[in-house]
Every structure is written in C-alpha cells, then in structure tokens.
Symmetry: C2
Subunit: 319 residues, 2 copies
C-alpha cells in the first residue's frame, strides 16, 4: 500500500527505505529549506543508506498527505507542534493513521508527542507510536530486531503491525502510550548518565544505573497514570543496548565528552528531556535522583565525580 | 571484627581482601587438597590480587568457624551441600551469621543455595545472601559499586550491611530471598544467551534479550512465591553490565564460543542453571522461552541461528 513519510533525516530515511523494502509505495516529504531532502532528491542517498529510484520526494505537504492513508512522522520532537498545525490547516487527514517514529517530550509544555499531535489535529484519525531498539546500519545488513507499537486501542496497533511486520522487524504492542512515550524519550537521559560513567571510568556502575534508572522512571510513569512495567519493555530497557553500550549513541557520547570537558556542537536531545522529566516530577512530587544529578552536572556545572558518587553511594536503602 | 571466608577461589579471595581492606581480621579456609589455598599460603597472591600478610589461612574447618561470628561462604554452588554437612558435624556454628557470596542453584534438587544451607544446618544461626555487580579488577582500583544483601529478616541484612559498608561498596537490602537468589543465578543464563547473540553477530538483539529475559524470569519468581520486581534490581538486571556486555564474562564468552564452534574447556555454570530453571518452570507450568532456546542449542544441538531467530521473531504479541 501507499505510505508517506514526513521527515527526511536519518531515521525518517530509514523508514522510507524500510517501507519500500517490504513492498509499499513511498513518498518522502521535507520542508522547503531542507538540505536533507535536497540531497536525497539529487543523489537518492545520505551517509547511512541509498533509497531506490521509485521513491517519490516532495516539498508539498498536501501531496504527501494525499498520497497515503498511512503517514509516518519522523522529525525533531520540538518541531512536532508546528508541523501538526500545518497538517491541520490542510484538512487532508481525516480517517488517516499517523505513526510517530520519534522520541522526545515537548519541553515548553512537558507534553508527550501523541498529546501534542492530538491537541492540534481535529476530527477522526488514528495515532500510533513506533519505538524500540535497532541501529539503521544493522537493519540494512539484514540484522533483525524487535520493536513496539503503542496506541490507545490495540486494534490500531495490530493494524499498523500487519502493515509493517517483516522478517526484519518483529513487533510487540502496548496499550500504554504514557509509559511507552515517556520511556522512549527517557532512554536518552539514561544514555547521558551512562556516558558520564564511562567518561569517569565508572563503566561498571552502568549495571546499577540500569536497575536504578528503570526504577525511578517507573515511579514517574505510575504517577502520570501509566503502567509502571512498560519501562522494562522494548521502548526503554530494550533500547539500552543501543543507547548505553554503543560507541555510536549520540547521548552516551555527549555524556562522556561533557564530563571529560571535550568540546561538543550542541546539547544532546536527552538534556531537554531531562528538563521536561524534572518538571513533571516536580508537579507530581516524584523523586528522580538520576535526572536531578544529570541536571546538576550539565546545567549547574557541579563536579561530575562528586555528584555521580553521591548518586550511587547514598546510605542504606531497601531496593 | 573477625571474619572467616570459606573458600579460596577468585571471588572468595576478593572477599578476604575486601574484609581486610575495611578493617576486619580475616581467616581464609580451603579444602585439604586445594591448590588455590596452597598457592595463597606460599605466595599470598593469585592472578587477581595480593593478600596482606596478616590474613590467616587454614585447612581446618573448626579453626575457621571458631575464629569468627561472621562466616562468608564462597565456593562452587554444587559443592555447598557437602560443605554444609561438614559444618553441621562440627556443631561450631550456633548463633553465627553465614553470608552466601555465590550464585547458582543446586541442579540435583532445584534448590536455592540458602535452602541447601538451612536444610543441612540445625539450631540457631542467621543466613544472608550477598550478590550484585562488580568486577574484582575494578574494586581493586578503587572503582565503587552497588550490591545487595538479602535475608528473610531485614534486621539481619542491616546488621551485615553495617559490618561491610564502605566507600567501595554501597548496599541495598531485600527481603525477597527467592527473587534475589533466582535472579543472581539466572543472570549467567542470560549471559550465555547474550554471548550467543554476539557470536551470531546479532549483538543489537541484546536490548530485546534484556527486556524479554527479565520478563520471563519475573514470571518464574512470582510462581515460586517471590517478588516479581526483584529481577529488575541489583541482583539480576544490575549485574547485566558485567555479564552481558563484558568481554571477560565467562558465561557470555561460553555462549559466543559455543555458537562459533570454538573449543571450550567445560560447560559454563549457566548451563546447569538453565537445566535447573527449566525443571522449576516445568513444575510450576511457566514458559521460559529463552532458557528453552539455550537448552535446545547446547543440549539438543539445534541450529543456533534458527533457534535464536525463532525466539525473537515470533508472531504478534502484547508486551
């Protein structure tokens, strides 16, 4: 069937490749001034992959929305509300299914991405979230992985899974959008913490980080009305290999460089997610010791070694 | 205070070093024919560490039991019942506290190690379990970690923690002996599975392994009467860094070598633990897909690639 991809970065272009790979017709949309899309149109490739010649590209949002009933969105999280407003203006989305293939929380509001989308779009349409582990490079080499589709209604998830299942990706489904979206965004935060431990040569504390990180986020998700067990599934814990243990993980790398005083181009996405999580935690009176520590180190410029030791070496406590 | 260590292998000698390091007087016991103890007596060192001159060594179990009220046991799991019978014969253990610093399940009975000990010892004494992450090499370099003490009674755990806390090890405590002991033993099983994935170049599936492995073991622990959340603590998930991601992990290495048809000296400890877990699962009618797959590959000589793909790429399922 037809699938449109809104976005043309690394992960969006992977989704274009994947949808085509399993037999769908694909249109990729990018903003007017997108250099990513310009390069894809010219060369049909980027630094990660080459896209087949029969994938369509467009700068026209109406064209992309008209092309397909299945609309994958994969852009920078903080840009989602703007794009959603634009989509709403077209009024070309009734009865369509949107799939958010992105991780993050809107910092200005502390809202989850599916909340942002449904605040801006009106009428009748479906929303699903597609997250979980997987390196683009591995998928291209035929190495399979498991991912998760989450939607308020299992029937929506199952429909999405039927369209996108293959030997390369095996899906689980979850009705807990709160837990899935918070967990997917928060793995970048734990990734930064993992990088900080690597940078201080405390790599062996990453085991304790995994146990304590999942625990504090589970408490937050429960307070928000989600399922405390979702954090231990594919959207968060299942993504730790790619985030906490990969030299290529952007957030892990950022944490390592930061504590070693190495230069970095810009703050990693997990930094704004940390801020958003701490806002939520404050509102719901939940303690997030790991997020608090990351914030102290990055924003308040506290001593990383002292803060990380304080975090892990606190006094006697039940698990 | 005085501490006796029963055992003189790698982990036992670390405990001797650590107890001395934090100011206790230490006696180390080994069996009559132990080459480990013979070497320690001669050189005061092994391939991992050097022990101070004022640590005592003895082949006499009565001497070790008389020396201290705190008795650490760190030997091969399948030998525990024999040692417990010997200890029982001395009747020199009333009102003492035994701490099991070892991981495993008695294969012939499917019993946890604290069960084995209490079946053989009579009268009045305390039993605690001390497990969790930490590499000997890291501790010796001053890199701290978090570990867990578990006992039926939190007062016993807190007493042990007071005796052994330091800047190097920060303890949590847990009343769930079932979850702690099963989790500590089972991390070797997940370590073998991780090695198999590495060996088949499916390293990126280790994320899914972490999510699904904890899930199936949590189900088993609940069926056994333990707390399903304990698996997500330091005794199991918290030990994944050292087990699933370390090139030095014996069980991970074994799994990798096995699927690559490389020679190995002997089956890793996780192999017998897998057998013991499957016996329990059968008795309690619990499915353990990962344990079953490892068993099929190692014992039934099924094709690793096919079995691992079957395991992770099964049809549509809720998390």
């Amino acid at each position: 069937m037809n699938v449109s991809i809104l976005g043309c970065g690394r992960w969006a272009s992977f989704h274009a490749w994947y949808a085509h790979h399993i037999g769908h017709k694909v249109t990729v949309w990018g903003r007017e001034n997108s250099t990513n899309l310009k390069n894809l149109i010219t060369t049909h490739k980027n630094e990660y992959l080459t896209l087949p010649q029969d994938i369509n590209f467009t700068y026209n949002l109406n064209t992309a929305l008209n092309f397909a009933d299945i609309i994958i969105i994969s852009i920078s999280s903080q840009q989602l509300r703007n794009l959603a407003k634009q989509i709403n203006e077209t009024n070309l989305y009734q009865n369509k299914t949107f799939i958010l293939c992105m991780k993050g929380i809107e910092v200005s509001t502390g809202k989850r991405l599916s909340e942002v989308l449904t605040e801006e779009l009106h009428g009748s349409y479906n929303v699903g979230v597609w997250v979980g582990p997987g390196h683009v490079q591995d998928f291209l080499q035929g190495i399979p992985n498991c991912m998760v589709i989450s939607a308020n209604n299992n029937e929506i998830s199952k429909k999405i899974i039927q369209i996108f299942s293959s030997d390369l990706i095996r899906f689980y489904y979850s009705k807990d959008l709160i837990g899935t979206e918070i967990g997917a965004a928060a793995k970048n935060v734990i990734g930064i913490a993992a990088g900080m431990l690597d940078g201080m040569h405390y790599t062996s504390l990453k085991g304790a980080l995994m146990a304590r990180g999942t625990h504090e986020l589970s408490n937050l998700i429960k307070a928000l009305g989600g399922n405390g067990m979702t954090i231990y599934g594919l959207s968060h814990l299942g993504d730790y290999e790619a985030t906490l243990f990969s030299p290529y993980s952007n957030n892990r790398r950022f944490g390592e460089d930061f504590v070693q005083n190495k230069p970095f181009n810009k703050l990693a996405e997990g930094v704004s997610t940390t801020e958003a999580l701490l806002k939520m935690a404050n509102e719901y009176k939940i303690e997030l010791p790991i997020c608090t520590t990351i914030n102290k180190i990055i924003i308040d410029h506290k001593d990383p070694k002292q803060e990380l030791l304080n975090l892990f070496m606190r006094p006697l406590k039940a698990e």
